[in-house]
């Protein structure tokens, strides 16, 4: 987590408009959320590039292991479902996630209730579903089950037998950042004790990227081409540094 107040103060400092209302808190919160999602989504593409680099021996081990560093940034969002928020809907025969923070499904597992032993449920291709199910040599079975996405839900083959349940490993949505405040003498003052305060839900290593991204949006909003150009220049530098 990155402190939302620290982020707010740095952005305001860089804009030279500290608490003068040019960027009201509501706008800052909106830009911060946009920046978080933009950086968050780019992590997956960066992970792919890092994997390629690792395959080509362009990264090294330990502190120079770029893929490990990237995975650490993504792992923050990787969590397991529980039997209460990932349930089987008998009429439709589908497994449904009833939480509201699912961003991307990573893996499904068939879990034995008693032993807790897990078997990976592999994602199948929808276009090959009929071939798979009708196969006489390797149809999906309880040892090698498969799933297919149906809308937001999951169809598991074969049907899950008694004594087992399905567990979803998924990437959750980042929490929406919120800089909370009280109006004191006409100016917004940070309220750290507000119940709805939310720090920025990104790995601390992405702090610099976050500031630059928010500045870009602020520059566009203020029609300050200098700020946009400065932010874009900083972003290019970060990309070059990490390539």
């Amino acid at each position: 987590m990155i402190s939302i107040n620290k982020t707010y103060e740095v952005v305001m400092f860089l804009l030279q408009k500290n608490n003068y209302g040019a960027i009201p808190p509501s706008q800052f919160n909106a830009f911060a959320e946009l920046a978080v999602y933009s950086i968050f989504e780019s992590l997956f593409y960066s992970d792919n590039l890092d994997t390629l680099k690792k395959g080509n021996h362009l990264t090294n081990s330990q502190y120079a292991d770029l893929k490990k560093i990237r995975e650490e940034q993504i792992d923050v969002y990787s969590i397991y479902s529980t039997p209460s928020n990932f349930i089987f809907d008998a009429p439709s025969g589908l497994w449904k996630f009833i939480g509201n923070d699912l961003y991307r499904a990573t893996d499904l597992s068939l879990v034995n209730n008693t032993t807790k032993k897990k078997v990976s449920i592999e994602m199948g291709l929808k276009t090959q579903l009929n071939y798979a199910v009708n196969s006489s040599i390797n149809p999906p079975n309880i040892y090698f089950p498969e799933y297919y996405r149906v809308g937001d839900d999951f169809k598991v083959y074969p049907e899950v037998i008694t004594g087992h349940y399905v567990e979803l490993l998924y990437i959750r949505k980042p929490k929406t950042p919120k800089w909370t405040y009280n109006i004191v003498a006409g100016n917004p003052m940070y309220n750290a004790g507000a119940s709805d305060k939310q720090d920025v839900d990104l790995h601390i290593s992405l702090y610099e990227k976050l500031i630059v991204k928010i500045l870009q949006y602020c520059g566009v909003s203020l029609r300050e081409i200098d700020i946009v150009q400065m932010a874009e220049g900083e972003e290019v530098k970060i990309i070059q540094k990490q390539s």
């Binding site: 994997t51 690792k54 395959g55 990976s120 592999e122 199948g124 798979a132 040599i137 390797n138 079975n141 040892y143 090698f144 498969e146």
Partner: protein
């Protein structure tokens, strides 16, 4: 399938001898865990492709080098036929049990035994059809004769050649060559459904040894192979997956093929169970023969 607690092992008959096998579930998991994914030659691949090739490999190994021979005792019906066991793929040997000595007397295949259907025909030799237009079939001449228990008997005499290797007693033909179809122990032929025996086999108990394809249990949990063939099977799957993958240079595929062939040969030799004591015994016998 790993080493287990000795007490559990000895008390559970189902576990006896299990350590010499690797289960199919372990094979698939090991292969996916160690030979696929990022930074491997095969790369990302779906599990079902691995399962498919693994099962094809098991089939091939079982019918060639694994020597997991099964056996069963069969009693013949009136038409001297025996239906294949449900997991039958190919026979290794067919014998009858000599009830006086208990010895297994090997029988030979005789392709001349009639196993073809006989079409029903009218007086003018026109073929007869049923109301659906399919040809009506009767009992073939050979089978009919055999069902009448027209037993052919062979006598031991000077014309009989007693095979030193115990493969039955063969009549010599006129050119003094061994004719396997004239085996005094009787003969059989194979059809799509089972064995068809010569009339010599009447009232005899048949001992059949055969091989299956290793997938007969129809349950992935029960499929297993000998540990000595494990590496060869991985090499087979790797080679097949690389063969079917796009953008893989031919030399890589060839390298995988050579690796498989080498490991397959090694596995075959290991599974032949050649012991140095056996070799010494044979060599010593050779010296005796020469004297």
């Amino acid at each position: 399938m790993g080493a287990t607690n000795p007490q559990i092992y000895y008390e559970d008959p189902l576990r006896h001898g299990e350590y010499k096998y690797v289960s199919f579930l372990d094979l698939v998991n090991n292969f996916i865990d160690n030979m696929t994914g990022d930074d491997t030659l095969i790369g990302q691949i779906t599990r079902r492709k691995v399962i498919y090739q693994m099962k094809q490999g098991i089939r091939q190994f079982n019918t060639s080098n694994l020597r997991e021979v099964k056996g069963c005792e069969l009693e013949l019906n009136d038409t001297l036929t025996a239906i294949y066991p449900p997991d039958y793929v190919s026979y290794v040997s067919v014998s009858y049990v000599d009830q006086s000595t208990g010895k297994l007397m090997t029988m030979n295949i005789n392709p001349d035994l009639n196993t073809f259907p006989a079409f029903l025909q009218d007086n003018n030799a026109n073929i007869l059809f049923d109301h659906d237009g399919y040809i009506l079939e009767g009992t073939s001449m050979n089978a009919e004769l055999e069902s009448q228990q027209n037993v052919i008997t062979y006598e031991f005499d000077d014309n009989c050649f007693n095979n030193a290797l115990g493969y039955g007693n063969y009549h010599r033909n006129t050119n003094f060559r061994i004719d396997a179809t004239k085996n005094i122990n009787g003969s059989f032929n194979t059809t799509n459904e089972g064995f068809h025996f010569s009339s010599d086999a009447i009232s005899k108990v048949i001992m059949l040894t055969y091989v299956s394809d290793g997938l007969e249990s129809n349950d992935d949990k029960n499929i297993k192979i000998n540990k000595l063939a494990e590496s060869a099977l991985y090499a087979y799957v790797k080679w097949q997956l690389l063969t079917n993958k796009g953008n893989v240079q031919e030399y890589i595929v060839k390298r995988a093929e050579r690796e498989y062939i080498a490991l397959y040969r090694n596995a075959t030799i290991k599974l032949m169970n050649i012991r140095h004591t056996d070799v010494m015994f044979l060599l010593n016998n050779r010296r005796n023969w020469l004297r």
